[in-house]
Amino acid sequence: MVMTAQAMPALMPCWSCKGPVATRALFCSVCGAVQGPGPIDHFTRLGLKATFDVDLDELEKQYFGFQRRLHPDRFAAKTPKERALSQSQATALNEAYETLKDPLKRAAYLLELMGHKVDLTACGTISDKSLLMEQMEKREAIADADSVETITKLSAAADTDVLSCQCHISAAINGENLDEAVHLTIRLKYLVKLAEEARTKKSRLTRQAR
C-alpha cells in the first residue's frame, strides 16, 4: 500500500496488542499498554503551544500531570518492557521540562524548531564586537568589586539585563525577526553567565563579611 505521509497521523503497531496506534500516543487506545515516546517536539510533548512566552506555572502543571501517568513509579509492578517504556517516557518528559523551563535553552530550542539553529555549545570567540566590549567591561567590574554593597548592585543589574534580554527575545520571535532573535539568544547566553558570576561573587563576599 502506498501511503502519503502528510495526509495522516503516523501509525505503528502497538507492541502489546499489535493493533494500530498513533506514533505520538502515550497509551494504546485498545489494550491500554504504555507506548514509547513518540517523535514529537518538547512543546507538544507537554501539551503546550510552541511559544517563547511559556507560563512557568502552566509548564509545571502539565509536566506533573504527564509524569503522574508515565513515571516509572507507576509501572513498578508491571512487566520489564512496560517499565522500560515508562522510563523512556519519563526521560523524554524530563528533557522537555528542563529545556522549556530555562529561558536560554527554550529560546535556542524554539528557534531551532523554526529553522534557525543557535549554537550555544560553541565556545568560540564572541563575533559581535559591541557584545564583546560590554562583556569585558562588566566582567572586570565584577572582578573588581570588593564590597557586598558594590557586588549587590552589580548582581541586581546583571539580573535585570537578563530579564530585559528575554523580553527582547520574546518580541523578536513574536515579530518573526528570527535573525535578531538568534543574535539576542547568543547575547542572553553571555548575560546569564555574567549574572551567575555576579551571584557567586556576591555569596562569597557575603560569607566573608559574616
Binding site: L11, C17, P20, C31, A33, F64, G65, P72, A77, R207
Partner: protein, 638 residues
Amino acid sequence: MSDDGLVMLQLCEPGETPAPHESERGAAVGIDLGTTNSVVALSFETEVEVLRAADGKALIPSVVHYKDDGEVVVGQAAREAILESPDHVVTSIKRLMGRGIEDVKSLAGTLPYTLEPNPDGGMVRLRVAGRVLTPVEISADILRAIKARAEEALLGKFVSRAVITVPAYFDDAARTATKDAARLADIEVLRLVNEPTAAALAYGLDNSVEGLYAVYDLGGGTFDISILKMEKGVFQVKATGGDAVLGGDDIDHSIAEHFLSQRKVAVGDHPISSGEVKQALMTARVAKECLTSRPSGEWMIEVDGKPSLHTMTREQLESLAAPFVERTISICRDVVEDAGIDVADIQGVVLVGGSTRMPLVRARVAEFFGRPPLSNINPDEVVAVGAALQAEALTVGSDTLLLDVTPLSLGIETMGGIVEKVIPRNTPIPVAMAQEFTTYQDGQSAMAIHVVQGEREMVDQNRSLARFVLRGIPPMTAGAARIRVQFQVDADGLLTVSATEMTTGVEQQVVVKPSYGLTDDEMATMLRDSLVHARDDMAQRLLTEAVVEAQRSVLAVQSALSVDQDLLSADERQAIDAAIEQVNAACAGSDRDAVTQAVDDLENATKSFAEKRMDRGIRNALAGMSVDRLDGALGGGE
C-alpha cells in the same frame, strides 16, 4: 462467544491494573537502612505501621556480631557484644559502602576494625573474626535481620520486596552496593528512595503541606539536605546536597578522642587498645544522648581493670560538635542557592535523623531557616514511614508521585585530566544525556573512557565510578571520529553508560568495570555462597515474571478482540481462543517453559489478525475517520 473480552477490558485501564499474583509476591515493606540503626515499616491503605520487636523497640542497631562458631547476630545483642569481643563486631558499615581503600584512609584512625588489603583495588574488605568480608555482605546480614524482624512482626507473612532508602548524597557506587546487598539478602528492591524525599513523603501525607520545604537529615554517618516543592501530591526535589561521611558518628569520635586524652592523664600514657577505643565510643554516645536533656554528667571508662572518670558539660559537648554542625549549615546555604530560592521562600523545615535531637542542631537550624523546625514525626522513624508509603504506592498504586534529582554531577575525563560534565547535579531523573568526543591521533582505534562523579574540575578530585575501553573505532584522521557517549540514570539514581561511534553507527559493547563496586563474578560467587535456596527462589521469581507477562499478552489480545473481532472468521477466532486457553492453562501450572511457549504460540495465532488490524487502521486513517480514536490516548496534562 464469551463476554470475557468486555470484562477484561475493564481491568486494563492504563496504569491501573494491579499486578496479578500480588498476594503471592509477599509483603512490600519500607526499610531505612541506617548507619547506626535501621527501621522497617509497612503501609496498608496509607496507614503505616512501624514493625517493632517483641519489646516494642523500632530501632534495630545496624551492628553485626560474627561469632567464632559462624553464627551471625544482628542488632541489640550484637551491640552488647562490642565490649567483650571488639574484633568480632562491625558497626557503621554504611560509611564503607562503595568505598575504596583510599577513601577510607582519612577515617582509618577512627575505624574500629581492620581493613584487609585488596590487591585489585575496588571496594574495601574487612577482616572480622578470621573472615574477610565486603561491606555489601555485612549490609546483607543486616538486611536479612530486618527481613526476619518484619516477617516476625507480620506473623510469618513472607516479605520479599522493599523500598530501601539511601542518603540523597550517596554516589553511584554506594547505591549499587546497597542494591547488591539487598540481592544477597534475597530482597527485591522496588526502588531506592532518597532519605529526605522519603521523610518529605511521610510529612506531606500526614500534614497535607504545600509549598517549598527543606528536609534536614543528620544521621549517624551521613548528612543530607533537600529542598522540595510539594504540590497536590507531587513531591518535586528542587535541589539536594550533603556529605556522605558527616554525621553523629563524627561527634561521637570527637567526644571519644576527648575522653581518651583525659584517660591518658588519668591512668598514665599508654598505647590505646581497640577495646579502649570501642568503649570510649560507646561512652561518648551515651554522654551525647544524656546531654540532650541534662546540662552535665559524669561517666566511667574501665578497660583492663583500669578505670577513669570523665565529666562533661553540654557547653563542652557543643564546642566539640560545633565544627560539624557548622559544616551542615554551610551545605544548607549552598543548596538553597542551588535551588535558586531565598531562605525566606521556605515554608517549613523537617528534621530527620537521630542526631537532630541535639539542642545545638535544632538551634542552628532554626536560626538559619528563620523558623522552628518540624519534628512531630519521630525523626528516627520518619524515613522508614516514607519508605513504607512508597512501597505501597509502587505495588498497589497511589495518587502521590516523587520526582527526584541526581545529587552529583556525572562526567567524563578528557585531555589533561579535566572533567567534562555530561549530566549536571540536580537534574530530574530518569535522565539520558549524550556528549560527543573525538580521537586525538590519526588511526586511533580505541578510546579509554573514564566516568567520574562530583563537582570539581579535575578528575582526581572527583569520585571515579568506572572505566571502560571503546574498541573497533575505524581508522580515521585525528578528530574525525565522533564518539557519542550516552549516560542514563534510572529512577533509582543508578547510572549506565554506553558508547557509539557515530560515523559507522556501530554501537560498541562496553564492559564497565566499577571502580569501587563488585564485579558480576564476585556477585555471582556471593549469591552462590549465601543463598541456600537461591535456585528455588530464582526459579519462582522467573516463573512469576513469565506469568505476569503472559497475562498481559492475553489481556492485550482480548482487548483487540473486543474492538476488531469482526475481522476474523469463525475458524480464526476459534484458533485464537484455543491459544488463549493454552496460555491460561500454562499459567496455572508451574512450568516456566510451558508458559513462554504458550505465549509464543498465541503470538503466532494472532499474527494475521494483527496485520488485518493494522490494515484497517491505515485505511481508516487515510479516510480521515478514526483519527480521534487513535489520537485519543495522547492524554492531557492534568
